[in-house]
Symmetry: C2
Subunit: 385 residues, 2 copies
């Protein structure tokens, strides 16, 4: 059984009942839950997928933000962890975990000082795409007498961060080699453009392969070794073998999955490990059932794949679309539904985007065979810095 | 100067510098900031607006989720506070504040037990719209030997919660009168349908007035006194005088304001007290500047008024739309902009929806005349239950 504190609901009164195992449908709602059997199956599958593709797995912890799940990933052979923010790195390092990639161009003296502080006791990699950021990072590293590994970010087609593959990329790597406290270790990119149906994703993976090839060719021309080539995302994970030179991938969502993953054909609904348990609190307005879970529970992320409408999938009544979220109210359109809704009824909902949903919560209840067996602190929630 | 702990940035290292006053643009980013002069002006204006309209002000604390701002509201004559969740009521009651309306139909034994526990030492009002919820609430109140005031929710046109004005509403009030531990105090509704341009809002306020009139007439017929009629929202606040019988309103957003309020013509940009301070972290992709503030900082709430596109207003470069948010990345489209963006540049952004933005953060930095002078804990953040 995974590590985790014993089940302890929110109130002091209930804490006294912490030995009582309850069915997940009896949890105070809205409750974020994870089915441990499904989680473990997802972890095993992608660990095996990476072994088969001969690519390292450095999972992005942004999906779960939880020390316990990071440990499960490392136990299954992950080469390290990925985080986006210094505060997230602090949580993982503070729990004794090591080999952390900060996959975000951190800028700002206070944050870089904290980053260099972590590097005193942990192996750190940092990604960046500008000389300005490299200079700042070098100053912070030098001030604490540490060395940090740097991955230079290139744009594989997502048009977010990253230099164009070619001379500028090599130029930045050379600049880094000259800066004290920094060591150029390789390249990094986010494959957000690998998205959509399996056929669309495969075609885009081939474009990404070309851009990775261009990037690596420029380094070969200059005789500059590239030790790490880090890419990926969950929808691109199964196509890693199409991208020569890739040494590791950074999927995040695969641990829990969500509707965005499902509608891309990259998982089944049964592979969605996280469900929001909610209660119907009002049926007073004709055609509506209101649940006690709104954007403060799900986030207001729209669906980016499939029908691109709605805010979640109601397991007990898939024919009742979750059409609108206020902060605390979820609006089910029950007009097309054959289900009979009533005040006090408990429903379970698969969210659109599980990463942003998890970030709304302080804790996640672990469930095994329908029973709530524990509760994990989402320790890296809300670490915006 | 308002209460609040001394300025203490996140890291232990920086805590040592807590006496140093810094310019808000030097804060570690992304930083949520509130301009105290603007906040105080907003507080004064709506307090005065309510006095002029002879209607009580029971501000919804969901916007600020902060004890300090609740105190400023009560000091200016608010008749009480509004919250949506039991956890929010616990925060406000725990800080010694009283007369709290829970404007949400709370369902579930654990939450109702906590609610009844608050009622042992505080004046509580609870809204609901079903007999099922009333029965549950009564059981919880009776179990602790407390009495809670109940407002019955009716639908004034927003089609969210609430019974149709008429006999069913009176029937539920009568049922409540018979239940132990409960006392019928009056009616409650959310005026979310009063939205849009000033002309649209005024017209809708007249519809709401009709529905309030219908509701009250049904109670008069039955000789059942209605002590409280609670309505409102920020965009409807100035039209309270058009709704006869209204005894109090519950605006939330007015303390901070946001782009949704601005584009409805209900405030100016200068009245937007909350800004996100962010740093440009990448300009590597042509046509893009990426800031270190994404949906984990702003929430992903779309703009519900005005142009209905974009995720925020960049004060330094209004001609660069914030077109897309990932969790940690904000995408500025700089193609149409005359501004020159550079890595390390600090920008300030007015959010679309300030309530959901505030809920993403653990703390808000207070600013006076450009200087960061303190930091408030957003103590009721993330209280989903």
């Amino acid at each position: 059984m995974p590590s985790g504190r014993a089940f302890a609901p929110q109130s002091a009164r209930n804490a006294a009942r912490s030995e009582v195992v309850m069915h997940y449908r009896e949890l105070p709602t809205p409750a974020l839950t994870v089915d441990l059997d499904v989680l473990e199956r997802n972890l095993d599958r992608v660990a095996e997928l990476c072994r088969r593709q001969r690519v390292g797995l450095r999972p992005h912890t942004k999906t779960h933000k939880t020390v316990e799940v990071s440990r499960l990933q490392l136990e299954r052979g992950a080469v390290g962890l990925t985080v986006a923010k210094v505060g997230e790195a602090e949580v993982m390092a503070g729990a004794g975990l090591d080999d952390i990639l900060v996959a975000f161009p951190i800028f700002g003296a206070e944050k870089l000082r904290r980053l260099a502080d972590i590097a005193r006791t942990r192996r750190l990699l940092v990604s960046l795409d500008s000389e300005a950021t490299a200079q700042e990072l070098s100053r912070a590293a030098a001030a604490q007498g540490v060395t940090m590994g740097v991955l230079v970010e290139f744009d594989a087609g997502a048009r977010r961060c990253g230099l164009e593959p070619g001379p500028a990329l090599v130029g930045l790597a050379k600049t880094i080699e000259k800066l004290s406290g920094l060591r150029f270790r390789g390249l990094m990119s986010f494959f957000g453009n690998i998205w959509g149906t399996p056929a669309e994703r495969r075609a885009e993976a081939e474009h990404v392969a070309e851009r990775v090839g261009t990037a690596l060719a420029a380094f070969r021309t200059e005789n500059l070794p590239v030790e790490i080539v880090s890419g990926g995302s969950t929808p691109s994970a199964e196509f890693a073998h199409l991208i020569p030179g890739l040494t590791e991938i950074r999927p995040g969502t695969y641990v829990y999955n969500d509707l965005n993953t499902y509608y891309q054909g990259a998982c089944s609904l049964d592979d969605c490990a996280v469900r929001v348990v909610a209660t119907v609190v009002s049926t007073a307005v004709p055609g509506r059932a209101i649940i006690d879970a709104g954007s403060k529970t799900f986030s207001s992320d729209l669906l980016g794949s499939g029908p691109k409408s709605g805010y979640g999938y109601v397991v007990e009544a898939p024919d009742a679309p979750l059409i609108k979220l206020n902060e605390e109210h979820g609006h089910l359109d029950i007009t097309p539904s054959r289900h009979k809704f009533y005040v006090g009824e408990v429903l379970t909902v698969v969210p659109n985007h599980v990463c942003t949903t998890v970030n709304m919560h302080d804790e996640i209840f672990t469930v095994r065979k329908g029973e709530a067996v524990g509760c994990w602190k989402i320790a890296a929630r809300g670490k915006t810095r």
